[in-house]
């Protein structure tokens, strides 16, 4: 009973914190509440670890609207990992957001922090959902809660971006994801996430391919091409939103959903036997290569990072569709590693904007000596995304490569290597130009002029995090190995 309440409180705490802060008139109290809420949530998530490490799966049923389908929460290792990343990075983003929003003098800050808290509630719901319906509910909640954040600026560009955002995400989720969910229900009579999957004896190979493809495209948040356009469109949002939601929470919710469906609805054996993932696998391979090429052409820093995210997300999908142990571990690790790396890059982009109002990469020549911490962090984050040791990202890429070799998919091995080269090509020049190119001629005074401390400290922490993750890769590997890939023997 105790652990059920603990689980439920991971949803209630951010929600209550959001409501509480929306009632405050003083900006300082509001931000303090935000920070305290984030910290409490992170501690609560950590409190769940002992149960999972003991092999328990705490759960709670909230409602039972339809025969065979409940509205319920249950913990499993993958979801717990996702919740930890999201809630942990929420603390840093809150600190960063306080600096950014004040530095940029954004209006409607209370609405901003309220919607942020609401989004985190939805993310916790996605992470701990015990069945597809619950996951779907929180998935839609996340879309709707982030919409006011995307349109925060309120100008025509923001509204247009918001319309693309809502249009694509709602269309794919209702059009494909809901259909696939209903179809699964009509085939199996249940929607629960179970070890080894629930579809195993209920589908023909053809149905399995159609279903998994519907799921992959229906999870629009995973940004599989051609439904990736919402992500660049969402970059009109203030940078803290892009950082936590569109590099971590929202997009990771997408790939997390796909990963969870592959493991707990289909079961990796079914995918491997029927080749159900074939279409999604090749579309993802195409996406990760094509997105890298597009990223090369973008001069706007946030747009380049957005396309980089599109590409990196497809790594997770590739890992899930390879349907072997190494692939799944690689995919799960990629969720963690990319989150840490990409949030660093976005934090840096925001800090550069706050300090210099610059958004185009070509304008950033020589900025490195003005903002050494920011660009050093950017460099470290870039290396982690590319997957070079001694940074966390290397483990994810390593396992994914192992997974593709295990599956004897040589073309995918090639695509992954090619994409890594492309990552170098579009990420390294940003930091390299900042340090090695001469600054613009209208000589500004030398000396350090960083963004506010509240912005710089979090990005240094996340940069350090990518290094730490390399050395603790083993522990993470052990934890991910707890994910039950097959049904327990009877």
């Amino acid at each position: 009973m105790n652990e059920s309440i603990l689980l439920l409180s991971t949803l209630i705490v951010p929600l209550a914190g959001g409501l509480l802060l929306s009632l405050q008139s003083s900006a300082n109290t509001r931000d303090a509440i935000s920070l305290v809420t984030a910290s409490i949530l992170f501690l609560l998530v950590l409190c769940i670890y002992p149960y999972v490490l003991n092999g328990d799966a705490p759960g709670i049923i909230l409602a039972k609207p339809i025969e065979g389908v409940s509205f319920a929460l249950q913990v499993e290792p993958l979801g717990l990992m996702f919740a930890t990343i999201a809630s942990g990075l929420w603390i840093l983003t809150t600190i960063y957001g306080m600096g950014y929003m004040r530095g940029a003098n954004e209006p409607n800050q209370t609405r901003f922090f309220f919607c942020f808290a609401l989004s985190i509630t939805a993310v916790m719901g996605i992470a701990f959902a015990s069945n597809l319906l619950t996951l779907f509910v929180f998935y839609e909640m996340l879309t709707l809660a982030t919409f006011p954040l995307v349109t925060h600026k309120g100008n025509e560009e923001a509204r247009r971006g918001g319309r693309t955002y809502l249009g694509i995400l709602l269309f794919t989720s209702i059009g494909f994801l809901l259909l696939a969910t209903l179809w699964t229900y009509s085939l199996t009579g249940t929607l629960d996430f179970r070890a080894g999957g629930i579809l195993a004896d209920n589908v023909t190979p053809t149905t399995a391919i159609i279903l998994l493809t519907l799921f992959a495209f229906g999870t629009g948040k995973a940004a599989l091409m051609p439904f990736h356009r919402w992500l660049p469109a969402a970059m009109v949002a203030p940078t803290p939103v892009s950082a936590l939601l569109h590099a971590v929470a929202v997009v990771k919710a997408g790939v997390f959903t796909i990963l969870k469906i592959s493991i707990y609805i289909f079961g990796i054996d079914l995918i491997a036997e029927t080749g159900a993932g074939t279409i999604a696998l090749w579309v993802a391979t195409f996406t990760l290569t094509a997105a890298s090429f597009i990223a090369l052409t973008k001069d706007n820093l946030k747009a380049r990072l957005a396309y980089s995210t599109v590409g990196q997300l497809s790594y997770v999908i590739v890992g899930a569709m390879l349907a072997n142990a190494a692939g799944i571990i690689g995919a799960a690790m990629q969720i963690a590693m990319h989150a840490m790396g990409k949030i660093t890059l976005f934090f840096c982009a925001g800090a550069i904007y706050i300090a210099t109002k610059k958004t185009q990469i070509s304008d950033m020549r020589g900025l490195g000596y003005k903002m050494p911490f920011t660009f050093a962090a950017f460099f470290i984050g870039s290396l982690s995304i590319i997957g070079l040791p001694p940074l966390g990202g290397s483990w994810a890429k390593w396992h994914l490569l192992m997974g593709s070799i295990d599956a004897t998919q040589w073309i995918i091995v090639g695509a992954l290597l090619l994409s890594s080269l492309l990552n170098i090509a579009y990420l390294i020049p940003v930091a390299a130009r900042a340090f090695y190119a001469a600054p613009d001629s209208n000589g500004q005074p030398h000396g350090i002029s960083e963004a506010p401390m509240l912005c710089v400290v979090p990005l240094c922490i996340t940069a350090a995090g990518t290094i730490l993750l390399f050395f603790f890769g083993d522990a993470l590997n052990d934890f991910i190995s707890l994910i039950p890939l097959r049904a327990p023997a009877q």
């Binding site: 609207p65 339809i66 509910v137 209702i174």
Partner: protein, 492 residues
């Protein structure tokens, strides 16, 4: 007392109506009407309690045993429809006084309450009677009172709308009368249970087949099944504000109930589906209705008319459920009948509150209303989510069953089409929400204020019920599931 409940539930409103007409003071008449209406809600709940789990009540009017006397028959389906009519009717009548204040001179008010109560009583009568001819009589009373209610709209076009409905309604009622006459000709009885026993042996009789055809066309006119929906959009658009909420909730739903009762109980599943293939007719018409009406709704600029067209589309969902001929489909029909009544009544009520302040239901005038009337718009948004079928709202439960019914029959394409139609609902509701929250308010509506609490409370009751029935579905889908099994004759 308990034994007399089936009579009491009808008599409360039926007797309150003439008394109301004799009271000159509108306020006292309103109080009487409200008390009578809410007492009938209590009686319906008590009846539901009695039949819960699949029981049936048979009550003989005046002590005459059927088939000679008039029988009142209540099972779970009729109890559910009773709750629908009385509960949603009472909620609307509670706000009626506020709504009439500006619309009509006060000495007329009591007559309006009389008409309203009469309409409610006749709908209750249709629901509980076990006699085919009584169905016709009450149907006529309900139609006549509805014409009067619609014609009271402030817009002069309300008169033509009422006249159109009068013509269509009369044709429908005549067809139903012919159908009942034919049945009586062949079997010599009017009691519905008795008819159900006697009709199968005359299944090959052309007269019975003709009566079936007459009946279906007649009742389809009343339900406004596409393409016989011609009267509905205008009637809903020009009827007085709060009255639309009542009509949208009850009138078409009770007609649908009659259709279910006759197709499944009186004519029987064997005759209706195996011999007459009514499903082959209903299926394409429903699908066409859903798509065409949704499409028209997307392009409406008057919100009242938009919601009216959406009603036509939603009625398509309900008739579609019948055409599936499986338990999930019929469950969806009955569940959606209840859920949609609640959602649409709530939407029209919220809209009535907005019109009360804005004096317009044009979508442009709703701009920025999310800030000036946050509580009303909030309720509207929740109900809108219910209409679209967002999970954890009542609308989701009915759509879930409907799509499952399609998949159960192996009609994947139909399931896809249903989801596309949901997206169209997203489009037309989203259009309103977008304007309400994200557009600046026009200059002439700068000082619009929230409406009185007495209107807000019923709006929010509808909104909260929409969420409640999205989570606890024992009353809706639970009853509907048992009803569907009984009607289709499975699981017995």
């Amino acid at each position: 007392m308990i034994y007399q409940l089936p009579a009491i539930v009808l008599l409360l409103t039926l007797l309150a109506a003439p008394i109301c007409s004799m009271i000159r003071n509108g306020d006292i008449a309103w109080k009487l009407a409200v008390i009578a209406a809410w007492l009938s809600v209590a009686a319906s709940m008590a009846l539901m309690h009695q039949v819960w789990g699949g029981n049936e009540i048979s009550y003989h009017m005046g002590g005459w045993p059927p088939p000679w006397g008039i029988e009142v028959r209540i099972d779970e389906l009729s109890a559910l429809v009773l709750i629908l009519v009385t509960l949603f009717g009472s909620l609307v009548i509670t706000v009626l006084r506020e709504s009439l204040r500006t619309a009509m001179r006060s000495h007329r008010h009591s007559l309006y309450y009389t008409t309203f109560l009469l309409c409610m009583a006749s709908l209750i009568g249709i629901t509980i009677t076990g006699d085919a001819f009584n169905v016709f009589v009450f149907l006529e009373i309900s139609s006549l009172s509805t014409y009067a209610l619609i014609a009271r709209g402030r817009d002069r076009r309300a008169l033509t709308a009422a006249f159109r409905y009068l013509i269509m309604g009369t044709i429908g009622a005549t067809f139903i009368l012919i159908a009942i006459g034919f049945m009586y000709m062949v079997t010599g009885t009017l009691n519905m249970a008795d008819l159900a026993v006697r009709l199968p042996e005359h299944a090959d009789n052309r007269v019975v087949q003709a009566s079936f055809a007459f009946f279906i066309v007649g009742i389809a006119l009343k339900i406004a099944i596409f393409p016989l929906h011609y009267w509905l959009p205008n009637a809903y658009t020009y009827a007085p504000k709060a009255t639309t909420a009542f009509l949208a909730a009850t009138a078409t739903k009770v007609s649908l109930y009659v259709m279910i009762r006759f197709i499944f109980d009186v004519y029987g599943v064997e005759f209706s589906f195996k011999q007459m293939h009514i499903d082959a007719l209903l299926l394409p018409l429903s699908v066409a209705g859903i798509f065409i009406a949704s499409l028209i709704a997307v392009f409406q600029s008057d919100v009242k008319r938009l919601l009216a067209w959406s009603s036509v589309a939603q009625l398509g969902y309900m008739s579609l459920g019948i055409a599936m001929v499986n338990v999930a489909g019929l469950t969806a029909t009955v569940t959606h009948m209840f859920n949609h009544a609640m959602i649409k009544a709530g939407l029209f009520l919220c809209l009535a509150a907005m019109i009360y302040r804005l004096n317009s239901s044009h979508i442009k005038d709703l701009a920025g209303i999310g800030r000036s009337m946050p509580l009303t718009t909030g309720a509207f948004a929740v109900l809108g989510a219910g209409l679209v079928g967002i999970p954890l709202t009542a609308g989701f439960v009915s759509k879930w069953y409907l799509i499952n019914a399609a998949l159960e029959n192996g009609w994947v394409i139909l399931a896809v089409m249903l989801i596309i139609s949901s997206l169209m609902a997203v489009a037309y509701i989203g259009k309103i929400i977008d304007v309400a929250y994200f557009k600046p308010a026009p200059a002439q509506h700068k000082d619009v204020k929230e409406v009185a609490t007495s209107i807000l409370i019923p709006c929010w009751i509808f909104a909260l019920l929409t969420i409640y029935f999205g989570i606890d579905t024992r009353l809706t889908a639970g009853v509907a599931g048992r009803v569907a099994e009984t009607l289709l004759g499975v699981g017995l």
